[in-house]
């Protein structure tokens, strides 16, 4: 295990915790319109993420 990997893993855990906490506390307060827009953006980002991984053959 490389030293930098520890920081990446902890960073990943924090990112995951941020998303979960954000979804739990704030998502319910957003209007339907904002939620639909955010879902569209998440889908686009995930698709391009998949394309990039595909390009790298990962």
């Amino acid at each position: 295990l490389k030293l930098e990997s520890i920081f990446y893993i902890v960073g990943g855990i924090f990112a995951f915790a941020t998303i979960i906490y954000f979804a739990w506390e704030y998502l319910i307060t957003f209007s339907r319109f904002i939620k639909v827009i955010m879902l569209v953006l998440v889908t686009i980002a995930l698709y391009f993420c998949a394309r990039e991984l595909h390009r790298r053959d990962m």
Binding site: Y26, R32, I34, V36, L39, L41, T43, C49, A50, E52
Partner: protein, 274 residues
């Protein structure tokens, strides 16, 4: 509020988990999993959109037809693997993929911040100037055998709450918790409603469209009483969820009284004399 979105989401999540495990074991690559997650996100978008906006059948058919076209198009694009061998095309695509991830991610954060801020939101409370003491009580000797409406169910409007949204996006506003106290203390019920129906007073939300307003009426349900029952003032006290259970109407502090919306209660005689 949500009809089929939540059950669909749960069922899809379980299905996705199984698909991810199987795909991960077979492919031993990350990108097929990411494609699965992207498709999962898209299906959630479609179900949420149809369900939350309660779309009509024409719109549902249109969304399903567009989804069919999109999925076939993406399937075709993904099948063109020869692109990945062309270095020039790859350099161009690398940039497109990079910005395709970065721009939506930044936009998500911006929308999240916009959603959290209360820009252009104003709440105006308009209480009635007074209410009649006789309207606050009903005769306790109500005969339950009679097939008429129970007198306590007749509510009395005491305050209009107008929520105005002067922003380009619709907003969801959660209602404050209110506690009704009176002087001397009596137990009155509380109700929230507008022209669309009633709300749960504790923690319910209303959606206000862009550049529009919504008026919600706060009313109290009458208490059981007799000819000697009387109160002189009604306090409408705004609280948070934790305080609601600790509110002691018999020992209100001066600050609570000052912050409260106070409604004068008049006897019928006073009103006829004045």
């Amino acid at each position: 509020m949500y009809g089929f979105f939540i059950p669909t989401f749960v069922a899809l999540s379980i299905f996705l988990l199984i698909v991810l495990i199987i795909t991960g074991l077979i492919a031993k690559k990350l990108y097929p999993l990411m494609y699965c997650v992207a498709v999962f996100s898209y299906i959630n978008l479609v179900t949420y959109w149809i369900d939350s906006y309660e779309l009509k059948r024409d719109m549902v058919v249109l969304i399903l037809a567009v989804s069919t076209f999109l999925m076939i198009l993406f399937g075709y694009l993904i099948s063109k693997r020869s692109d990945f061998k062309n270095k020039k095309v790859m350099q161009k695509k690398k940039k497109i993929y990079f910005w395709g991830i970065v721009i939506p991610s930044i936009a998500i954060v911006l929308f999240a911040i916009i959603g959290m801020l209360d820009i252009g939101l104003s709440i105006e409370k308009t209480p009635v100037s007074y209410i009649l003491n006789d309207d606050l009580f009903y005769d306790c000797s109500y005969d339950y055998a009679k097939p008429i409406e129970h007198p306590s169910s007749k509510s009395l409007e005491i305050m209009n709450i107008t929520i105005k949204n002067d922003f380009i996006f619709p907003r969801r506003v959660s209602f404050s918790n209110y506690v009704i106290c009176s002087e001397p203390q009596n137990y009155f019920g509380l109700d929230f409603y507008d022209n669309e129906g009633s709300y749960n007073i504790y923690g319910d939300m209303a959606e206000i469209d862009a550049f529009s307003s919504k008026t919600i009426t706060l009313s109290i349900t009458r208490a059981c009483g007799n000819e000697n029952s009387s109160v002189s003032k009604i306090y409408i006290i705004e609280t948070d969820d934790a305080q609601r259970y600790r509110m002691d109407c018999r020992h209100l502090s001066q600050k609570q009284k000052d912050d409260a919306v106070v409604i004068e209660v008049r006897s019928s005689n006073n009103v006829s004399n004045s």
